[in-house]
């Protein structure tokens, strides 16, 4: 991938549209369930099947979730709003129109703060509106071209969907990814969507254009579709901006069009031009009354908002002295954050004689962003699916803090705990890993090692400080890593001094 955008006199301008499925138990305009993975077409009724005569009834919870999302994204909430019909034909669209919102979204004019390479930046959120999902088309065949029949699953039809539209405030693929990451963390934290891109409950489209740095005018924008992961967003924007810059530099012009991201090829391909864009013939949905959103209700929803990722990260930094990057990383993931809180609770409960009030949480954070994340990545599972529980990690931290095991041993204990779910104390006992801190016991081993290694010992006396490292290594080898490193160091130097 050419890194044109970062070094060039051109800059990329990105705006993002995100669709997130609401986590409400029932659909937005009927009472059908929204469980993912249910038997196809088992969660349907005349309304979401678009039967003649069926009428929509707004699920108040879906509106509440939309308001909640709007508030969490620092938006203003409309006093009066309404629904509109977006008319187009497609087999997955039960009624031949989608109930959506055209000119008066539930929420508007908010923002998200992101940080890229240590640089904070505010990305404006233009609007958040509520609409309905379409059914799911499943093509019977390898792909849409070779398939000779398509199947429809209306379980998805009518699930509540929010569309979140940013302003064209992002200037790089990195910023776009940071925006999406932060947006997802907020939506998940407030419980309005599970935002699983792989299950399709979060989808995004990027509007990309380029312009000469310093220019006030925007370039012609291209809409990118079929972006199925955060990684794909980043790659697609990098590819597309480079394509546009090359085009402009070679005297060509970018045309207003929609392009399809081909993840396997790593390319965008022409899909349709603006002229081919559908005329959606939006008009007010006559089957639903205009809505008044009372300020009391908005206040109530606002006061019920949980702690948002930014506030949580700030609190972690303030209360526990976590490094800002660790705090942000943990706070951004609801799973990591609640696990972290669990570890802190367990540490506090254990009285944690040996664990300082802030040392414990700092250690926990280190584990989470380090070994725990690595182990999860390696095994390809979510934290919630793993056998690791907050209490187990807390116990492990306690064992190190109290000097029962060394930090190095702890890593190997962790591996077993992660794999088996056993208590760290049991692993230490079973494998005889208790640290040797007893001075007499250590002195005997140290003496044995000194006698067995006259060469390095004389090197040490000759001023080669590094020889110490070798001798410590030998002691660790003899004790299978169980020797208390600080004690070992102290006694070794003492014994060597005696022989000087």
């Amino acid at each position: 991938m050419r890194k044109v955008t970062e070094r060039d006199d051109y800059e990329v301008v990105v705006g993002i549209e995100v669709h997130a499925e609401l986590a409400t138990e029932s659909k937005v305009f009927c009472g059908c369930k929204t469980d993912f993975g249910a038997r196809p077409n088992s969660q349907t009724c005349p309304v979401c099947l678009g039967m003649p005569g069926a009428l929509p009834v707004l699920n108040r919870r879906a509106l509440e979730y939309t308001i909640r999302a709007g508030l969490a994204l620092n938006c203003s909430i409309a006093v009066r709003t309404k629904f509109d019909r977006k008319n187009y034909f497609y087999p997955d669209l039960a009624k031949g129109y989608q109930v959506s919102q055209y000119d008066i979204p539930v929420a508007h004019d908010g923002y998200i703060d992101i940080e890229v390479d240590g640089q904070p930046k505010r990305i404006r959120v233009r609007r958040v509106h509520l609409e309905e999902e379409t059914a799911k088309l499943v093509h019977a065949g390898d792909d849409i071209i070779s398939a000779n029949q398509s199947l429809l699953d209306f379980n998805r039809s009518g699930i509540g969907l929010i569309e979140i539209v940013s302003d064209a405030d992002m200037r790089s693929a990195d910023e776009a990814r940071a925006y999406l990451t932060k947006l997802r963390s907020i939506l998940v934290a407030i419980g309005v969507s599970d935002c699983k891109m792989e299950e399709g409950s979060m989808r995004c489209e990027a509007n990309v254009s380029v312009r000469l740095r310093g220019s006030k005018e925007y370039g012609t924008l291209v809409e990118l579709k079929n972006i199925a992961s955060f990684r794909a967003v980043h790659r697609a924007i990098q590819y597309e901006s480079a394509r546009q810059i090359d085009l402009v530099r070679s005297g060509g012009r970018v045309t207003r069009e929609t392009r399809h991201w081909d993840d396997a090829r790593g390319e965008t391909a022409f899909m349709r031009s603006k002229e081919q864009a559908a005329d959606y013939r939006y008009f007010p949905e006559p089957d639903l009354m205009p809505l008044e959103i009372s300020r009391e209700w908005v206040d109530e929803i606002k006061s019920g908002l949980p702690e948002l990722p930014d506030a949580r990260a700030a609190r972690y930094a303030r209360e526990f002295g976590l490094p800002a990057s660790d705090a942000a990383l943990i706070a951004e993931s609801r799973e990591l954050a609640s696990f972290f809180d669990g570890v802190c609770d367990a540490l506090a409960k254990a009285g944690a004689e040996a664990v300082d009030r802030t040392d414990g949480p700092r250690e926990a954070a280190k584990w989470l962003v380090g070994d725990v994340s690595a182990a999860l990545n390696a095994s390809g599972i979510e934290l919630s699916q793993s056998k690791l529980a907050p209490e187990l990690l807390a116990e492990l931290i306690g064992l190190v803090a109290s000097g029962k095991i060394s930090g190095k041993i702890a890593k190997s204990v962790f591996e077993e705990v992660f794999a088996s779910g056993k208590r760290p104390g049991d692993v230490v006992r079973e494998r005889g890993l208790v640290q040797i801190s007893d001075a007499g016991q250590l002195a005997a081993i140290v003496q044995r090692v000194i006698e067995a290694n006259p060469g390095p010992v004389s090197d040490y006396f000759a001023g080669k400080e590094k020889a110490i490292t070798f001798l410590v290594g030998q002691i660790m080898k003899e004790t299978r890593g169980r020797a208390n490193p600080q004690e070992t160091n102290r006694i070794l130097r003492e014994e060597l001094a005696k022989r000087a």
């Binding site: 005349p46 005569g53 087999p91 009354m289």
Partner: protein
Amino acid sequence: MSDNINARLCHMTLHELHDMLAQGQVSSREITSDVLARIDEVEASVGAYVTVDREGALSGADAADAAIARARRVGDAAEIGAVVGIPVVLKDNVCTRGMRTTCCSKMLEDFVPTYDAAVTARLRAAGAVIVGKANMDEFAMGSTTQTSIFHVTRNPWDPERVPGGSSGGCAAAVAAGEAVAAVGSDTGGSVRQPASFCGVVGLKPTYGRVSRYGVAAFASSLDTVGPVTQDVRDCAIMLNVMAGHDERDSTSAPNAVPDYTEYVERGVEGLKIGIPKEFFGPGMDEGVRTAVERAVHALEGAGAKIVDVSIPLVEHALGVYYLVATAEASSNMARLDGIRYGHRPEGRSGMDVADLMSASRGQGFGMEVKRRIMLGTFVLSAGNIDAFYGRALRSRRLLKEDVERALAQCDCLASPTAPTVAFRFDEEPDDPLAMYLQDIYTTLANLAGVPAISVPCGFADGLPVGLQIMGRMFDEGTLMQVARAVELTSGFDRARPEVGGCVK
């Protein structure tokens, strides 16, 4: 009338039959059987039905008889519901679970709903016997019932004439004794105009008064569901059963439902009836004018105060109506794409999905439906929406204000229901615009959302003339009062057409 032993059961009113049922003088099976026999006699010359459910009707009648017998045994005859055991017909756009509901379109020729419309469910729960489904203009788009794919419906007063539409099957069935009462739908006059043509009572309730759930939509903001009956009391009884809030229809009103029958005999003494002068301009048949003026005069004689009012913008009502109605219709018809249900074209293998939908719709819809879909699509399209649809919505608001102003000066408005009496099949204008003029007096009530009733007020050239009374929002009660007074003073006296050799 219940002492008229010569009258056939099928020609008795709903309330007469109810009294006889409650007193054990007749069974629902007898009534239903007579209605079915009447259908056998005259259906070939009337053609009101598209589906007759004999077995369902008779078993419904037996269930009603059992319920009536139970109530009578425990001395609860007074508690027997007003429509228990009464044979009714539903317009074929009202969904009936397990019974074909076609909207008289090739598109839905074989469509059997999986659910009952709200009105169907209310009628069933109230013990009514559903005899079948009535013919209509395809998707309720028309004023003659001729756009039905099945067959024409003939006016029981003259088989050479149209019954009106789009609820022509309902009005003809009630007029011919093929059903005691009917449920129609009215988007621009579709209950009132055929009621006027067939000499029966037709009500378009206040928008939101009767749930639209399960009635195939034509134009959502104008659609209403209303009864077609033999007299005003029957109309009040049917409305009692049909009206009420329904949480499945977001536009349904939570307002309490009064007992509408209580208004029927209140008389018009002291009521102010407004005559909108714009409704009596050119374009109206002289016979219609004479009958309506005579009826208004009779109302005055009965103690009503007649006042002149003006609805200056009414000349725009028809234009506004056809913009709003077609715009909404173009969107409402979109679900009929042949994918989940509905017409599937022949020889479809090899078609892509766009072709499949186009062919389904191309073959499934008739000319009038296509015309309105195209009009509506145009009206809503980019570049046109502000000039047409946006302007229509603004005009609609002004029209509504006009109506409200007029209704502030009186209790209700009286006018003809239609500019003509039922016309001959060969008189139907070829120009659809001329045809749309049939709705000139009726669309206003739909645009304003107010209730309006058509009640027979006399004859012109031997054919019934309907008087329309338009009232304030949720004031169906006043309509019942005035319509009943028209019934009493017009001399129409429940006249029956001669059809199928049956003389009243």
